[in-house]
Structure formats: C-alpha cells, structure tokens
C-alpha cells in the first residue's frame, strides 16, 4: 500500500508539462524501439549500432566545427555509413562485418581529430550521446513519435518478409522476398534510431530501451509475432517502472530505467532457466 502510494506520488511530477511530455515520449519509445532491438540482436547488428554511434559523434563534431545543426549532421553521417556498408555487402567481395568494424574505429578516430583540430568543446560534441527527455521541445517529441510510427508501420506491413530475413536471408531470397531491400531498410532504421532518437533521449536510455526488452522477449517468446509483442510490453514496463524508480530515488531517468531493466532482465532470466530445468526434469522422468 505504501509502495503504491509512493508510485502514485512519483507520478505527480507529470503535472509539469516538460516532464509529462518527456514521459509520454518515453512510453512511446519504450513500446516501439524494442522492436528495433529485436532486429539488432537477431541480425547481429551490435557492432553496427556502435559504428553508428561513432558516426553520429563524427557528424556532430563536424557540424559544431562548421556551425551546422549537429542532429542533422549526425543523421547525414549515419546515412553515409549505412549506404557504404550496404554497398559493400551487396558486392561479393565485401565482408560487411569487417567493413562495419573498420568504420567503427575510423569514425571515432576522426571525430576526436576534428574535436582536437578545430577546438570543438568535447562536451558539446558528446551532447549527441546523452539527450535529455525533459529538454524536449514539442517538435522533438512529435518527431520521435512520428519516427516510432514509421518503425511500427514497417514491421507490421512487412511482418512476414522481416520474419523471413530474421530466419534466414538465403531462404528469404529463394522465397522471392526482396531481402536486400528489407535488410537495407532495417539497417537504415537502426541507423536513424541511433542517430535521431539517441540525440533526443540519450545513448544510455536508448540502449536500455533498445536491447534489454528485446533480450527478454527473445528468451520468452515462441514465435516472431509474440517476440515483437513481448518486446513492446517489456519496453513499456521497463520505462514505466524505471521512470518511477528514477523519481523515487532521485536518479536520472536513464539510470532508473536501466537499473529497473537490468533487474527485470535477471528475473526473466531466472524464470526461463527454471522453466528449462523443469522441462528437462519432465523429459527425464
């Protein structure tokens, strides 16, 4: 009862418009971006995700040095990297993994070279890595929601094709699915999620929303459909209770969400292990 009252008290901060706006965007992000997390994990795009973070940092550094908009520059930098990787993987000679790793190292090196050479304040450049949901403008919020709608529309409208690409790309190709287009779109979505949403809600929060719910969903679900549903549900739960934890504990929202996400992940992991143990015992008897 006391805890319930605490939770209730925590959400009284939503009376403040910037916090309410941030919370709504956070809930939308929690419901939608774990879907991208499923794609990242299943297609082994973790390296790509870091590469895009570094590319966004490079774009931001160049923009600050040239007096341009860092967000736009970050998106442009990521789009260039996605195009380069897609082009490399479309040629038989290209090793997409090696090229992604190459870009991951080169972009961060160049970013710091630009920061040093043009005396860009590092804290300004690194701003792209930690957004602040309370500092969101209405336009930022609508952009995030709009992008979330694009992600959901892509997954829903291409559900079977996306499932096929997650299952096996050569099978998808033989079934007549234009898997190259689907795969490139997925990479583009990941790139946009990283560069665009990260700027709005921050890198740490994005990781907590992107990866942890997807991990939990993949361990519990029995089909691709339920994987996406579980990921969205876990994402919303992580965001909701993580937000409350942050308010109650006077922590940054990103920390609260990450900590709650980690605890929930451990619980889910324990449940799946227990389920596996019982299933094994049943099989033995």
């Amino acid at each position: 009862m006391i805890e319930s009252l605490g939770l209730f008290e925590a959400f009284r901060v939503l009376e403040y418009l910037p916090i309410r706006r941030g919370f709504i965007v956070l809930m939308v992000a929690g419901a939608v971006f774990p879907l991208v997390g499923v794609l990242v994990l299943r297609l082994n795009l973790i390296t790509l995700r870091f590469t895009l973070m570094h590319a966004a940092l490079l774009g931001s550094a160049i923009a600050l040095a040239a007096g341009l908009n860092p967000l736009v520059a970050g998106i442009v930098a990521n789009t260039v990297v996605v195009a380069a990787i897609s082009r490399a993987r479309s040629h038989a000679t290209g090793d997409a993994g090696a090229i992604t790793t190459f870009f991951m190292v080169v972009t961060v090196g160049l970013a710091f070279a630009v920061i040093y050479r043009f005396r860009v304040p590092a804290t300004d450049a690194l701003q792209i890595l930690w957004g602040n949901i309370y500092a969101m403008t209405p336009v930022d919020a609508w952009l995030t929601v709009g992008f979330a709608i694009v992600v959901v529309a892509f997954v829903v409208m291409n559900f079977t094709a996306v499932s096929a690409v997650l299952f096996d790309r050569s099978v998808a190709r033989s079934a007549g699915i234009r898997e190259g287009i689907i795969y490139t779109t997925i990479i583009l979505l990941v790139g946009l999620t990283v560069s665009f949403v990260m700027r709005l809600i921050g890198a740490l929060l994005l990781d907590a929303i992107l990866i942890l719910p997807a991990l939990m969903a993949l361990s519990l679900a029995h089909s691709v459909r339920t994987t996406f549903l579980w990921a969205a549900l876990f994402g919303m739960a992580v965001v909701f209770f993580g937000f409350a934890l942050a308010i109650l504990s006077d922590l940054p929202v990103s920390s609260g969400v990450t900590i709650f996400g980690a605890v929930l992940f451990l619980c889910v992991h324990a449940v799946t292990r227990h389920r596996l143990y019982r299933s094994t015992q049943r099989s033995l008897t």
Partner: protein, 380 residues
C-alpha cells in the same frame, strides 16, 4: 541413354497381319505403334518413339483401368520396361509384333494374356538393362519417367525446368565449378553426390542466383537469369538449406511455412490456404504452433518442404537434407520427396554425400568431383 537407343520399328503390314483388329493407321500418316481398344472401339493411338507412347497413355488414362478384361493393347515392341508399364496400367490383354523374353515373366506373373508375331532374346536398350531384375511396376514407372524426362530435357529445351550452359564459378583462386552443362527436365529428380567441398552447395547457390557464374549462363524455364539472377529465380525455387538455420530465433513452424507465401500475389485467405495445404501435404499440420527450433531434424525438414510447397516452387533444391537425421527419418524424407515430386511434378535437385541413403531408381544420378559433373550410379 537417349530416346534413340530404343526406337520402335515402324509396323509393316505383314508384321501386323495376325491381329486385324489392331491394324495400324493407313499410310501416309505416321505408323501407329501403340493402340488401346475396347472391343471394336479404338480409344487411343500413338505414333511416338521409345516408351513415350506408353507414358503418354499413362497420362491419358490417369488411373489404372478398372475393367481390364474389356481392353486390348497393341504395341509394336514389348520389352521388360514396356511390360511393367502395361501391367501398371492395369491392361491384361496385349498383342505385339516383337516380344522380348525379358518381358514374358512380367506378363506371366501378372496374368497378362499376350500374343506376339515373334519373340527375341533381348532388346538393345539401356532401360531394359536397368530394369532387368525389376519386378515392381511402380518402381519401374519411376525409373522410366525419370529417364524420359532427362532425355526430353536434353533434346527439347522447352521441356527443361533448368539449364546450366558452360557454367564456371571461381571463388578466390580456386575454380569451384568448371564448365558445367546441366539440362534438367521438368518434374525430373536429380541426385548429385560428391565429397565435402566438391562444390555441391556452390552449384545450388549458382542455380539460385546467389553466386553469379564467372562464365556461362543459367536458364530457368527459358529465361536467362541474366543480370538480376536473384530476382529472376525468386519464387520458382524452393530452397532447403543444409544448416539448421533457426538459431535462437523464436519462430513457430507455421511462421516458417508462411515465409513461402510472403512474396505471393494472393489474397490473405488464399495465402492461409496455401500454408495449410503445404503443412497437410507434408504431414506437419499438427506442428503449426510449435517453436521451430524445438522440432526434431525430420520435423524441421517437413516444415521446410511445406514452406516450399506453400511457395508453389517449381524447383526444389535440397542441400544435404538427410544430414543429422537418423535412418528412419532419412527414409521417410526420401519417400516424402518422391511422393511430392510425383504428385506435384516438382523438379527435385538433391545434393548429398549420403547417396547410399537414397534408392536411386527414379533418380538421375550425377557425381560432382573437382568441379565437373559426370554420370554415376546405377541409374545411368
């Protein structure tokens, strides 16, 4: 092997004299070499060569005759292969101009009343040699059908499902496929064996268009796969790959089969129906809600083949499908493939290093070694 190695002789007037009711069509029309009659009524005639008239008659009749006593067949030459086909059709009265002694035990065993103008020891035909010890009409039919399809594919491009012409594939410094010529007939079952690393998977990937040939061309149903091989091949080929592809993805068996209809231009209802029909045809409908990765190897193969059926693939490419299966499951898989190939007239190309697992009757058997294909096994 070819159609020409057993060409039926034109029936002359004197040779056909003993059976007036079976008299061939008058000149100048091509001589009738096969005729099915019911009393005085002629039901079917054919002027083709080799065993094609009997195969055509098989298609014409559809099912074996239900009232064999009323029917009489005239065939110019009957060897063991023809005798087995005739028995399979349910025909029990036959007249021929030339009867091979190898065919007589077949007729005797199945109580076929036969008459002949002359009896010869043997007919010079490769098919006769292959079927010399065969007693099962169904198995014989499969062998003959496979040989007929292969022969047709060689001589008639319009009967080809697939054709590789002078295909070479270079990977790195090594020549994986070397000047491969491979016509494959529609509905043919082709078995390609070879050691690990012989290039079997590369051959399948080249057919699918995933690996472009360094030289030569791949043609699917008269269309060169050209500059966009993957797009050209898309949908016509059902691919059963070697690896256990599911990994850790939680995907249900039904979702796997649904992949087959992802690119189909059909209504939702029709797609659902195709998925259901594919799963029922392969006996895996009950597995629909199960998670794919928890299925046994044999169940996974059934689900995968159901996906290809839902896709309405015309060519089925199977890469080591019997790997990781136990003996029973291997046998069941091969039987399923043969049934489906027969039922749906799907062209099946199976590559494996476990040729001993497959009863090669009914399969054209080629060996891939050092990048080149050559005839192998009893079926050749």
């Amino acid at each position: 092997m070819s159609q020409a190695d057993f060409r039926k002789a034109p029936a002359s007037a004197s040779e056909s004299a003993p059976a007036p009711s079976f008299a061939p069509a008058p000149a100048p029309a091509p001589p009738v070499v096969l005729q099915l009659s019911r009393g005085p009524q002629v039901l079917y005639t054919d002027t083709g060569a080799w065993l094609h008239p009997l195969l055509n008659l098989t298609r014409f009749l559809g099912d074996p005759l239900q009232d064999p006593a009323d029917h009489t067949l005239f065939d110019t030459i009957v060897g063991r292969a023809a005798a087995l086909l005739i028995v399979r059709l349910g025909i029990r009265r036959v007249h021929t101009e030339t009867m091979s002694r190898r065919g007589i035990p077949v007729f005797d065993r199945w109580d076929v009343a036969w008459s002949s103008d002359r009896v010869v020891d043997r007919i010079d035909c490769r098919t006769e040699e292959i079927l010399a010890d065969e007693h099962d009409p169904e198995r014989a039919f499969r062998v003959i059908r496979a040989r007929a399809l292969a022969a047709l594919a060689r001589s008639e491009p319009s009967h080809r499902a697939l054709s590789l012409d002078g295909v070479s594939v270079v990977r790195g410094d090594s020549l994986v496929l070397d000047d491969i010529d491979l016509p494959v007939g529609r509905g043919e079952k082709l078995l390609i064996t070879g050691a690990n690393g012989a290039g079997k998977t590369t051959l399948l990937e080249t057919i699918m268009g995933i690996v472009p040939p360094s030289r030569g061309s791949v043609t699917l149903y008269h269309r060169s796969t050209g500059a966009s091989p993957v797009v050209s091949a898309a949908g016509r080929i059902g691919y059963v790959n070697q690896a256990d592809v599911s990994g850790s993805l939680p995907i249900s068996a039904e979702e796997v089969v649904t992949i087959g209809v992802a690119a189909a231009r059909a209504s939702r209802r029709e797609k659902r129906e195709r998925v259901r029909a594919g799963m029922e045809a392969t006996g895996c409908a009950a597995l629909a809600p199960r998670m794919y990765r928890t299925l046994s190897g044999g169940e996974k193969r059934r689900v995968t083949i159901a996906r290809c059926l839902a896709q309405q693939a015309e060519i089925l490419l199977l890469d080591e499908p019997t790997a990781s299966l136990d003996g029973v499951a291997k046998g069941e898989l091969v039987a399923l493939l043969e049934d489906l190939a027969h039922q749906y007239e799907i062209t099946v190309i199976l590559v494996t290093h476990e040729a001993h697992m497959i009863d090669r009757s009914g399969w054209r058997h080629l060996q891939l070694s050092h990048g080149t294909l050559s005839a192998a096994g009893a079926a050749e």
